[in-house]
Symmetry: C2
Subunit: 247 residues, 2 copies
DNA sequence: ACATTGTTGTGTATTTTATACACATTCGAA
DNA sequence: TTCGAATGTGTATAAAATACACAACAATGT
């Protein structure tokens, strides 16, 4: 109750607040950051883009791409700005995942962070900015990171696993034209699980969302596979919201 | 880039930061609140617990149960505290949903809020605190609310619809012992969709998670139905993480 | 030219799950 | 006793998931 009465102190109980600005000025303020978990896919392995931490206490440890949120900046905008600043990339799929607020998560004091996920086609976007040893790391190889970033990464990885099964996110990690094998490798890498090749193909074929571009792979040391594009227009049109209890 | 160099100003580029506290002090700070979307179920209707807004600009409009986050308070703790302060309730299922950060969402200036959802059994918890005209509203009847709370409510409602199909949340809204009809009414109310009675029962029967308590309803003006309990232990043990691409 | 190797592309049988649908039973109320 | 209204149950059909095998193809090496 303490806090409610504290807020009330600026006006009598039961009376309406006429000046919201004065009210907001009484609120405690916290430093707020956004951390971007940038996933990429290369050599059939799921990767994440990291930098070397600035902080001496985290000497040698890797860190997500984060920055503080600016005055009057929306969180989505902050995430996009950080992505742009760090990688030069624009117009990338980005999604808020959740906030992390443990009081001791930052050695410099209380800092709350909001995690965003982004999926990047590594081939399509050469990294132009390499500050802080920015580069890709295999997700599976990481164990310790700066701050609570390993926890955030783990959470986002699970989020991605669930998300990719219900939404066509994966195509953001592939070239525009891809083979069935590439697609399956992507799913297997993210889900960390082997899938039956024939059933996988059947599943995607039955969805009717892949466009056969009548081309085949080259530079493969074996029989080349057909290439496909994902039909985003059709997907957007037919987006279903199904009902099916399952737990 | 502006912001990175701004942060850098406290130390030379390439050098490690030795004093993280000083670093954090340079971060902009924002007022942060938690808004709780408390769902309940009564008379076969999904309801949400609201208070009358304090603010004159929102004269007459209803508002979610929110409060600012205290110094060094975790968001989860803040949400639990607010729930307790407003309703007297403790030990309630609470889950973070997402943050809302539009710069103009609060008339008093920039305030970021984190939405939490909670599901409450209305019968089991009489409201002891009725400040600010706290009471239950039919979700379907709401159109305009204070702040961006209608947007938050809508988002949380959709979140709930998805969530209830994959997790046994619904049982938090029912009495410990409930009939199949009550359970189905709950799902129909939340999903806003009619379900086939026989298939619904078959589905839950096949899950094997309902315990027949060998009792029947009373005080119903028709043939009473059998009562069941949800087997939380068995659910926790067998929690599966299935793989199935579907979009 | 040919055999070898590895991957592509396809089909079918089986099981499981979802959907659609109807009727007798039970209790309360009149 | 009868009526009304909801309970409890089963079956047939369609759709989806799963398990599994073999021929066709292109590249490579001989």
């Amino acid at each position: 109750m303490k806090n409610i009465s504290q807020r009330m102190s600026s006006h009598k109980a039961g009376e309406l607040v006429k000046d919201p600005t004065t009210l907001v000025e009484t609120y405690p303020k916290v430093p707020l950051t956004v951390d971007c978990v940038l996933f990429g896919f290369e050599e059939n392995v799921l990767k994440v883009l990291l930098i070397r931490s600035d902080l001496q206490v985290f000497d040698g440890l890797w860190s997500l791409l984060g920055d503080n949120v600016l005055d009057n900046e929306e969180l989505d905008d902050a995430a996009n700005r950080i992505l742009k600043e760090r990688t030069g990339m624009d117009d990338i799929y980005l999604e808020q995942v959740r906030s992390f607020s443990h009081p001791a998560r930052h050695p410099g004091g209380r800092v709350i962070t909001v995690a965003y996920c982004s999926l990047i086609n590594i081939q399509h976007h050469q990294l132009k900015i390499l500050d802080h040893e920015l580069h890709w790391h295999e997700v599976q190889s990481l164990t310790k990171m700066a701050f609570d970033h390993f926890e955030i990464l783990t959470y986002c990885n699970q989020w991605l696993q669930k998300r990719i099964q219900e939404h066509p996110l994966g195509f953001n990690l592939l070239p525009v034209k891809f083979s069935m094998r590439e697609l399956q490798n992507l799913y297997e890498a993210i889900l960390n699980h082997q899938l039956d090749r024939r059933n996988f193909r059947k599943k995607f074929a039955s969805m009717g969302l892949l466009i056969d571009v009548n081309e085949i792979e080259d530079n493969v040391p074996h029989r080349p596979g057909k290439l496909y594009k994902f039909n985003f227009e059709k997907y957007e049109k037919n987006k279903r919201n199904w009902i099916g209890i399952d737990f």
